[in-house]
Amino acid sequence: MAKTLPRTLFDKIWESHVVAQRDGEPAVLYIDLHLVHEVTSPQAFRGLRERGLEVRRPERTVATMDHSVPTRSGQARGRMPVVDAEAAAQLGELEKNCAEFGVELFALGSDQQGIVHVIGPELGFTQPGMTIVCGDSHTSTHGAFGALAFGIGTSEVEHVLATQCLLQRRPKTMLVEVAGQVAEGVTAKDIILALIAQIGVGGATGHVIEYAGEAIRTLSMEQRMTVCNMSIEAGARAGLIAPDEVTFEWLRGRPRAPQDWESAVARWRALPSDPGAAYDTTVVLDGGALEPMITYGTNPGMGIAITQPVPAPDQMSDPRERAALDKALRYMDLEPGRPLLGHPVDVVFLGSCTNSRLGDLRAAAAVVAGRQVAPGVRFLVVPGSQAIKRQAEAEGLDRIFREAGAEWRESGCSMCIAMNGDELRPGQYAVSTSNRNFEGRQGKGGRTFLASPLTAAAAAITGRITDPRQL
């Protein structure tokens, strides 16, 4: 293709996946990898059956069970039933659908089972330059590899199963430049929480974000996934980070990584945005000025540096913002103007597709080692996959957590979405490494403070919201 204009990473992936583009109509976009789980797929498979259709590319389709699987050790291997008959029926339906349509399934009990956005990269299915979709909004996670990855609804799951394509309007692009180096104790989670606090939960609607800058380039692959994972919480269609040596090293040797490795890497090296490529919007964040972040409200944009007081509605000039803050603080039962530091905590959840990878567990274990979980606090540690769980156990991380008094669990979405019985009781406060603090998200009436694994581990030890740099 003779292109003279400099192109972004997004432009390159988009343009190489357009199957057809008729005037005035959305593009027909080819999908390289379709990830499937139990909750958003049954109606799509049912639709195929009703129309007498096949899965067009079973080899580009991979399924796992994660949202409603039990995580209590001993349950996951099938010795104990899942949370209820409905969840069991839904899991059974996925098994049946995958068998009937020839889709590879990492079922409950499989050595490779795990959260869909954890195992995709872990097994090497996720690769730079791909288009990736899943009936799950946190599909944006895979953008960390320089893949265009976004969440879709169940109707679109059916479209991709049947045709390997989607009808899509071209989104806009947003460059998020995180300059400088973050300080000790400040993590990828804090970067993304700070961004969402700055631009708001609708700040990137209609856009694909590309994250760049020194603070992003120096992140590990796992940390990049944490950043891209929460792109959707700013409303973005997807999040992207240009692939580099860190990406290639992480993928090398993974089971489903390309066989023709050298030529794949050569193709991937051409993906990063060209110098001078234009974006629709640019946002700059000073990485060096960031502190550990925590949310106080009922959406991920309601976040502050952990040392700051909870904002006061009467200081808001916009009446809509004032009303939203007032509603959130009533739900959270928090006093405006008071610091969050020292606020008591009932539960700490370390897990989810945002922060359940080995690096997250290691970082939290380093805080916990030689200490005890505060009396009365429940600390759940839920690895993102069976492979991560095995590796953590080989390193003795499970012993550190267990000896401190934490619960060491099997892999799954667990208390991030509270579909499997792992949930908060009404009124309980949790510090959670997950991605959503919406009302009732972690259990009806439960109250969530989103934070990094370091901040979560510190809260587990003290039983209060604690600055991890002070522990």
């Binding site: 199957v19 944009g301 998200r441």
Partner: protein, 193 residues
């Protein structure tokens, strides 16, 4: 399901950033069909813990059952990609949501279920909220053919809608059927890689 014009009462839920976990909490996603979710629409805002309806919640007000239009704030439907959200809204009886803006995935999911997302400018949205506040029986008209929304005392206001989605709704075009008709193009693309 085709869509042309609706005229009905409206339910007013003017909060911004209403997420799909509020529209339909995750514990109701363990279903394998699309039907019957309306009873759980806004479950945790709508019912007391014992299951009785909260009298002061707008969905429980007299006339709400007949409403086909929901008026919400900005960034409606943010969060999870669950299509159960538009399924629940449709099952309750809504055919259009008029809001300041919509989250991308929700908008896409809504259009695939014959639920029309209508985004109004800030002032027009505020005017509609005020008119509905003043008159709970206010009839709102949403005309997809002309792409306008109107109510008593208000000149019709034009709203944006994707022209392809508009055609699909007006003519009852099935998107999957459309994609399946592109079989040759898809094969050619696959062969070219």
């Amino acid at each position: 399901m085709t869509f042309t014009t609706i005229q009905s009462r409206a339910v007013l839920l003017p909060h911004d950033d209403i997420d799909t976990d509020q529209i339909i909490p995750a514990r109701f996603l363990k279903v394998t069909s699309r039907e019957g979710l309306g009873v759980h629409l806004f479950q945790d805002w709508r019912y007391e813990s014992g299951g009785t309806e909260k009298a002061d919640f707008p969905l429980n007000a007299p006339g709400a059952r007949e409403a086909k239009v929901l008026i919400a704030g900005h960034n409606f439907g943010c969060g999870s990609s669950r299509e159960h959200a538009p399924w629940a809204l449709c099952d309750f009886g809504f055919r259009a949501v008029v809001a300041g803006s919509f989250a991308d995935i929700f908008r896409s999911n809504a259009l695939k279920n014959g639920l029309l997302p209508v985004a109004l400018g800030k002032d027009e949205h505020a005017a509609l909220c005020a008119a509905r506040q003043a008159d709970p029986a206010l009839e709102v008209t949403v005309d997809l053919e002309r792409q306008v929304v109107a109510w008593r005392g208000q000149e019709p206001i034009r709203f944006p809608v994707d022209p392809f989605a508009r055609r699909c709704l007006l003519e009852g075009v099935d998107e999957l059927g459309y994609l399946l008709s592109l079989q040759r193009e898809i094969e050619a693309y696959e062969a070219s890689r």
